[in-house]
Amino acid sequence: MKALINARLTLVWLVLCAVTIVSWWLGGTAEHHGHFVFSTPVTIGVLAIGLFKCRLIMQNFMEVRTAPRWLRLFTDIWLVAFWGAVLAIYLY
């Protein structure tokens, strides 16, 4: 059981590292002749990965997955409200 829990944590950590590298690479694609350029698809990708990473950390590392319902609800509402607000302001 202990090995299984550790395997899950390690898998989560590996996924977190992998998607971090993807988001870093994504940021680098919005470049023209060595200058950063605006890119809505890149921004949406970066924000989506950010939300995904925050949720993975909350659910698995902070153990919200097995926490009382009020905490699961609060964290999910925060995630949607926060990342939603960031995207809305960016698109405005």
Binding site: K2, W24, G27, F36, L47, I49, I57, F61, T66, I89
Partner: protein
């Protein structure tokens, strides 16, 4: 564990680190102290407000922000994110080791998490010194004001997190002090610090 259950627990329960029967049956429980969660959730709301203000300012000066972003070292940002994630991984495993009664393993993993936090600070200081060396300071423009303020306030959280991990380390080393709730609370705080960095990396470094 509710406050009533905690106060009614016999003293030796401090060392056993086992959940109550009710918690064990449902599998649902709040890790750590409720007061730590109040602090963590409050911090998330406050930081959320800072980030929203950053986004509003970015919208009004988007060209300046994009141009200034170019002067940040994206690769250092990536490395620091990987260091922070690794630190959280060590600390999450320390909690599980502690619950399983493997206090030596938990202590070792807490030290690994702590050292990653120190590496994060060293990299951040190097990054700041390079930026300042190139003439970018708080006063340069609004982007750099936000960059130094957000990363600075976050760094204070890292320092506080290291102090808390130090307390966890001290408790794990002394059988009479061991409390599962303290180890879990320390871990909860540390993961929040990790999560806030993830938001900073996305908004300040990568947004286009």
């Amino acid at each position: 564990m509710t406050a009533t259950e905690r106060t009614m627990s016999p003293p030796h329960d401090r060392d056993t680190m086992s959940p109550t029967d009710e918690e064990a049956n449902s599998g649902i429980r709040l890790p750590g102290e409720g007061s730590m969660w109040v602090f963590v959730l409050g911090d998330m709301i406050i930081f959320g407000a800072y980030f929203v203000i950053f986004m509003i300012e970015r919208t009004s000066e988007s060209a300046v922000f994009l141009q200034s972003q170019q002067h940040l070292n994206q690769t250092i940002g990536l490395i620091n994110t990987l260091v922070m994630l690794t630190s959280s991984w060590f600390v999450a495993r320390a909690v599980r080791a502690c619950r399983a009664g493997d206090y030596q393993g938990a202590t070792r993993l807490t030290v690994c998490g702590f050292l990653c936090g120190v590496v994060f600070i060293l990299i951040k200081i190097y990054e700041w010194s390079v930026e300042i060396g190139h003439g970018y300071t708080l006063a340069s423009n609004d982007f750099f004001m936000f960059y130094f303020m957000l990363t600075g306030v976050h760094l204070l959280h890292v320092v506080l997190g290291l102090i808390i991990l130090g307390i966890v380390f001290r408790e794990l080393r002394r059988p009479t002090l061991r409390r599962a709730s303290m180890v879990e609370s320390g871990a909860t705080y540390w993961h929040m610090v990790d999560m806030l960095w993830i938001v900073i990396f996305a908004l300040v470094y990568l947004l286009r």
